[in-house]
Symmetry: C2
Subunit: 219 residues, 2 copies
Amino acid sequence: MKPRKIRAVVLLSGGVDSTTCLALAASKGREVYAISFDYGQRHRAELAAARRVARQIGCRQHRVVRVEVPGAGASALTNRAIGVPKRKSRAAIPVTYVPARNALFLAHALSWAESIGAFEIWIGANVVDYSGYPDCRPAFLRTFERMANLGTKAGTEGSRFRIVAPLLRMRKIEIIRLGLRLGVDYASTLSCYDPSPRGRPCLRCDSCRIREKAFKNIE
Amino acid sequence: MKPRKIRAVVLLSGGVDSTTCLALAASKGREVYAISFDYGQRHRAELAAARRVARQIGCRQHRVVRVEVPGAGASALTNRAIGVPKRKSRAAIPVTYVPARNALFLAHALSWAESIGAFEIWIGANVVDYSGYPDCRPAFLRTFERMANLGTKAGTEGSRFRIVAPLLRMRKIEIIRLGLRLGVDYASTLSCYDPSPRGRPCLRCDSCRIREKAFKNIE
């Protein structure tokens, strides 16, 4: 009898980091359950990218979950009355920050994980190229993990959830090199915060800029 | 100029505990933002109760947020194929446990709280009469609070979120006595896990049983 594969829920936005994270989980032999979020983001085109890469890399299941983010009004990503900055921002935490987004996303992932007996939750969070978001920081992820083990049935009955963030301290260029080694087709991904309705990147927002710079340096 | 009232987001299911918690927050002079969740619960009639008590007690705002709970299939509250137990259960954690429910609910509350500058999140969690749910335990709530302060813009920029759980160690009968002193109309509340479509309680589930016993002992 073949041993059962370790199950992992992987957060997948369809951008460079989460796609690389998904490819890495698959390459490590995980049975992968990808989860994406439809949360009223202006870059909803990323969900098409998420579907593409989920198909290319191969997942046991890919769910797109609707999330009504109560604090959506405060972010440029979810409130069209606030513009996405098109030049380098000097704010410590950018206006694209969505209140408690990763707490929300990880809580959804945790709920699914517990119900299918997956004790790893993979997230492509990264603090090097883009350290502005508080909910990507190591201390936040560590504390979420502790909370997950205290607040779930599985966690209190002896299983142990782990938040796996393998890209946390990698530079964007290293992430892309890793993905290329794993066979990721980055043409399928979308990083832009403010794409055209058909998913064409603006090439001017922070997220586009960081991505383009990394790809240029790789060539 | 009158000083601005302290804002509080209060989780409101429409049952005895959350209603008392709401009344307490209001009595302490908080400007109250109540939040309820439509998550596919079989006792969706509780939302009508939540609307009633929110109106009676008075809230600055009451939001009902839709939540797609990814682990819903695992719980008797959200999967109609699983029956709600109608006698005293001996399981440590009952089948009505919903994977990561309070992590999900609190994350939604946190997102709203951050966007409106509310730094208190009140929850009617209680460990005395009904200690089965891991996501009602003090250590879980404490760790969620820590996570909230690490993973938000406000939390990392000097504000401090607090999870306020004033009923945590009270017995049900004490909770009801407190509510009665505050003028709560418990006839408006609904505690049942398995009510009729019109909201008539079954009087046999755990939640009904605990409620009835407390009211009987008060008379």
